[in-house]
């Protein structure tokens, strides 16, 4: 396939690539210490691109999460944990965020997020058995996007689950789903969780959990989660978490920080990269001519590009 006579297209792509690569660094985010806690930004529901419905590799997702200022992530592929293992190995070598082995246990009726597990949990188990298996492996079970039908499936395990996604992009898809998420959280003692469920757009951490841990290590994160030391801000101003921790979070300005993550992204260089790339891509699309679009009588060979 040849793009004829459009020199500006590769030049625009190259300029876009240069601008984007220069902009491709983690923004400085100083560690937050408050009330004896290290406050960590976490996203426990991310999908990479290898068999998990995303478009970034596990290692690419680690780097993107780091760029979005996340300290702790869980890769939660559908019904497998291989992606998460690759991501954790990479992050340990690269000095990236803490990566928890996770899985989105996806069955026909509902999804369950399992984090800090050893091996894959079968979606063929009943929901109570899935949760029991997560606990047996030393992990935590989180109700994934409990909206609509998914929400009703959790009715019998409200006391058994450890966390409930109260901030999730589903809240923006439908107004009744936003209400579902909050009503579900009100019905369970599970800790509040904010997750982006990132697949291929938006960005990791667009919904996130602030974890109040003693330090930024995996054991400290798990201790904090077992003690329900999480705070989640919703875009509508509502906040969930232990009232004492919420006070600390407010004092640290975390509400403003959480709101910022839901806005359109990008520095000037990001926008330059974006606009140039889109111009080039539109240029390519407009330049293409299928040999079949030319009117030539049937039976004659078409001149190909």
């Amino acid at each position: 396939m040849r793009v004829p006579g459009r020199v500006w297209i590769p030049l625009a792509l190259l300029a876009s690539l240069i601008a984007g690569t220069i902009a491709d660094r983690p923004e400085p985010s100083p560690a937050i210490q408050i009330g004896g806690y290290r406050v960590l930004s976490a996203d426990f529901h991310l999908h990479s691109g290898l068999w998990s419905g995303g478009t970034l590799t596990p290692w690419g997702l680690v780097l993107e999460a780091e760029r979005q200022g996340l300290d702790v992530i869980a890769l939660t592929a559908h019904n497998e944990t291989a992606d998460a293992r690759v991501a954790r190995a990479f992050s340990r070598i690269a000095g990236g965020p803490v990566v928890l082995i996770g899985e989105e246990v996806t069955s026909a009726t509902q999804d369950l997020i399992a984090i800090h597990i050893d091996s894959t949990i079968s979606p063929k188990l009943s929901l109570p058995d899935q949760i029991e298996e997560v606990h047996r492996q030393g992990g935590l079970a989180i109700a994934a996007h409990p909206v609509g039908r998914d929400r009703t499936q959790y009715a019998d395990v409200l006391q058994a689950i450890d966390g409930a996604e109260v901030c999730h992009p589903a809240q923006w898809e439908r107004d009744d789903w936003a209400a579902d998420l909050e009503q579900f959280k009100a019905s369970t003692p599970a800790m509040p969780i904010g997750s982006s469920d990132f697949h291929f757009m938006g960005h990791p951490g667009s919904c996130r959990t602030f974890v109040f841990a003693r330090d930024a290590t995996e054991p400290a994160v798990m201790v904090a989660l077992r003690e329900h030391h999480t705070v989640v801000y919703l875009p509508n101003g509502h906040v969930y978490g232990d009232p004492e921790l919420v006070k600390l979070a407010d004092a640290a300005g975390l509400q403003q920080r959480a709101q910022a993550y839901t806005r359109a992204r990008g520095s000037l260089l990001d926008w330059v990269s974006r606009v140039l790339a889109l111009l080039a891509l539109f240029g390519i699309a407009a330049s293409l001519r299928s040999p079949a679009s030319r009117r030539v009588p049937a039976g004659l060979e078409f001149p190909l590009p």
Partner: protein, 165 residues
């Protein structure tokens, strides 16, 4: 070129910019899709008339990807520029409209390609159209969603029930 456009649009949607890291990353993840399409085209090519060598046939076929490129680029523009709330609310609807348009437009282009470039009969060209899509699209869906197959089949069931009730 097809692979490059796929990777660029995915990088823009995922990261909001085009960087070397994102481009290489999405190129790795999306490589199987290009392979599936080439294999599907090879199946169509080798099972019928072959008036041209395979390499120019591949080039010519992907030169008909304009509707798909437009759809992907508009989606990338939207996903990269919109805030997460706006993107979450409208992406599925925009995606459905653009892909429907791309499917309709590409059917005509692809049919003409099989009919007049590969010199297939009308009936055979329709068969090629169906075969190519069945092979390439099924493989792509499986690649992205096979670990969540049960949920996906339930979603399809729900859509069919909603449409028929």
């Amino acid at each position: 070129m097809y692979w490059l456009v796929l990777a660029c649009t995915a990088a823009l949607a995922a990261g909001g910019r085009l960087s070397l890291r994102l481009l290489l990353d999405t190129a790795v993840v999306l490589a199987p899709i290009v392979i599936f399409q080439c294999v599907a085209l090879a199946v169509v090519y080798w099972t019928g008339e072959r008036p041209l060598p395979f390499a120019p046939v591949v080039d010519g076929y992907f030169a008909g990807s304009g509707p798909w490129f437009f759809a992907l680029t508009v989606l990338a523009a939207f996903a990269s520029a919109a805030s997460p709330p706006v993107a979450s609310r409208w992406f599925a609807k925009l995606n459905a409209i653009l892909f429907l348009a791309a499917i309709v437009l590409s059917v005509r282009i692809d049919f003409r390609y099989y009919r007049y470039v590969l010199m297939r009969t009308t009936r055979r060209a329709i068969g090629d159209l169906v075969t190519y899509r069945a092979l390439a699209w099924s493989a792509t869906v499986l690649y992205f969603l096979f670990t969540a197959a049960e949920k996906s089949s339930q979603a399809v069931h729900d859509v069919v029930r909603a449409l028929t009730s």
